[in-house]
Symmetry: C2
Subunit: 317 residues, 2 copies
């Protein structure tokens, strides 16, 4: 990449202009003011805005030798869009803060912008603003905005004893893909690609409007269920026999001496959705029933055994 | 700081919990859902949200030997809040993404949170969400949200020939303070502190509701006026005799062989506000008239001389 133009050669304003051109789209009905002013102005139907921020850093959330800039852009957008859907909201826009060393090729930044725009277009939103700054290592901060159109947000704290627990989307794929990559393999593609850029089941999350609580699985199923259990002050009981463990995972587990159930229970970054419903008949099509909520000291049980989540913690070693 | 607890020792969830406790405030009328769920939910009166992101990085926007964590938090919040006011909007909330090495003392992160909360409280808003991740170097990403309550946003593109140009807030202080610090001095305090954490004239910005265009001066007066001129397709004419050059600056310039006018014209990071008004009588109290807008090829003129901005570019050397 040594003969490529770097961001130091192009300069900040040239870079912003190039990104802006790359992201320029037809007018979007949700966007009043996009890139190019001091702030963006976006629809917030119902006079409430839903907002979240995730930061992805080099060496922690991605490795440049494992993931393309496009992958990283898609992953950063997906992590945030999933958080908007997990509130029962509809995404309206993304903003992005890009911190990069000045030797970064301009083409890398533009591919990152492409990846962000590509994932955003899966849910019909755009990148409406952001910031590009110099730093020693790469950090990508994405802000997602969403609207509720008068609906109430679906919180972590709404699960009640008697609720059914249901799951939408893949689990364990990112963890399995990480193991493949860390052993030097670039396949199976379905696992490796899931680690590079997850594909959250947005359309299923959007059908869960009757959920009493919801979360997206970013740290690991048990870890994120424990957040629901704590916030709702109830017990989550999972029946492991109901958990989907696809052939993709069992085959990889047997080839790599891995544990497919462990990937499903503790693997993060797939951004599946888990939700509770007061009536099993309200669980939407495409969701899988995996257990039920009971009263009691908050905790997560698998097959009646109290579990201790081993999901991802950024700082504990 | 070697005997202090590090974020690696406390862990991500412990750190988030400590930050949450530190930021916990009484219920805020603008906040429906604050820290602790997948996303925050905040008021957006008029069904539009104003949003912006700024990233501050170690060695570029701050140095740990020059600025306390509190300074950095206040600076990060101020840069973003100024962008909300520059749209003619009222801020409603902040979100923060913190990327830090795992050897960072917990106390440093909590002081950063205090700084963010302190600046936010100047305009009666709170930190409602965010993310904390591990990285090689420090990056602080702040997202500010605002509401328009049915008003139209004040854009960069609204200046018209015949408009008056006016300024609110200090200019040149941060640039002068930077020079003091880079020469190894810790005084004059008024300049050094202005570089560590600017104090934008929020309350004056909030009076500019009749402005035809507005921007906050983050890169330098000439640089930011050139953004207004380009977006509005007009010429900005500044009369240098009208620019406020306080004794603080002239004294420092004479002691340090600096140029006070250059600091005022090209110094960034003070987050003063510049706006245009269709009638000089509409310029609010506390604002200073500094020139006028004419038709013609877009550009910025000082005393009838076309200028070339030398404001800050993150990547050009």
């Amino acid at each position: 990449m040594s003969n490529q133009q770097t961001v130091a050669e192009l300069g900040e304003f040239g870079l912003i202009s190039a990104i802006q051109t790359r992201l320029a789209n037809s007018n979007h009905q949700k966007v009043s003011v996009g890139i190019g002013d001091d702030s963006a102005v976006v629809s917030a139907a119902g006079s409430q805005v839903v907002a979240c921020v995730d930061v992805l850093t080099q060496g922690v959330h991605f490795r440049l030798d494992w993931s393309s800039a496009n992958d990283i852009g898609r992953k950063a957008a997906a992590a945030n869009l999933a958080d908007i859907f997990a509130m029962g909201a509809t995404p309206t826009a993304l903003l992005v803060g890009i911190a990069i060393p000045d030797v970064t090729p301009v083409s890398w930044v533009l591919e990152l912008a492409d990846g962000l725009a590509q994932e955003a277009s899966r849910v019909d939103v755009q990148v409406v603003g952001g910031d590009v700054v110099k730093s020693e290592s790469i950090a990508i901060s994405v802000t997602a905005l969403g609207e509720l159109s008068g609906r109430k947000p679906i919180l972590r704290s709404g699960a009640k004893a008697g609720d059914a627990i249901a799951l939408a989307g893949k689990l364990g794929y990112s963890a399995a893909g990480y193991l493949m990559l860390s052993r030097g393999f670039r396949s199976p593609r379905v696992l490796v690609n899931a680690h590079r850029a997850p594909e959250p089941a947005y359309e299923l999350a959007a059908t869960a409007l009757k959920a009493t609580s919801m979360i997206d699985v970013s740290d690991g199923l048990l870890s994120d269920l424990s957040h629901l259990a704590s916030a709702s002050k109830v017990q989550f009981h999972i029946d492991s026999a109901t958990l989907p463990i696809p052939e993709d995972l069992t085959a990889a587990a047997s080839a790599f001496n891995g544990n497919a159930l462990d990937w499903v229970l503790n693997g993060g970054e797939d951004h599946a959705f888990v939700a509770t419903f007061s009536n099993p008949l309200e669980v939407p099509a495409g969701w899988t029933l995996i257990g039920s909520v009971t009263a009691g000291e908050p905790g997560v049980f698998v097959d009646n055994q109290l579990t201790r989540a081993t999901g991802w913690d950024h700082f504990l070693k």
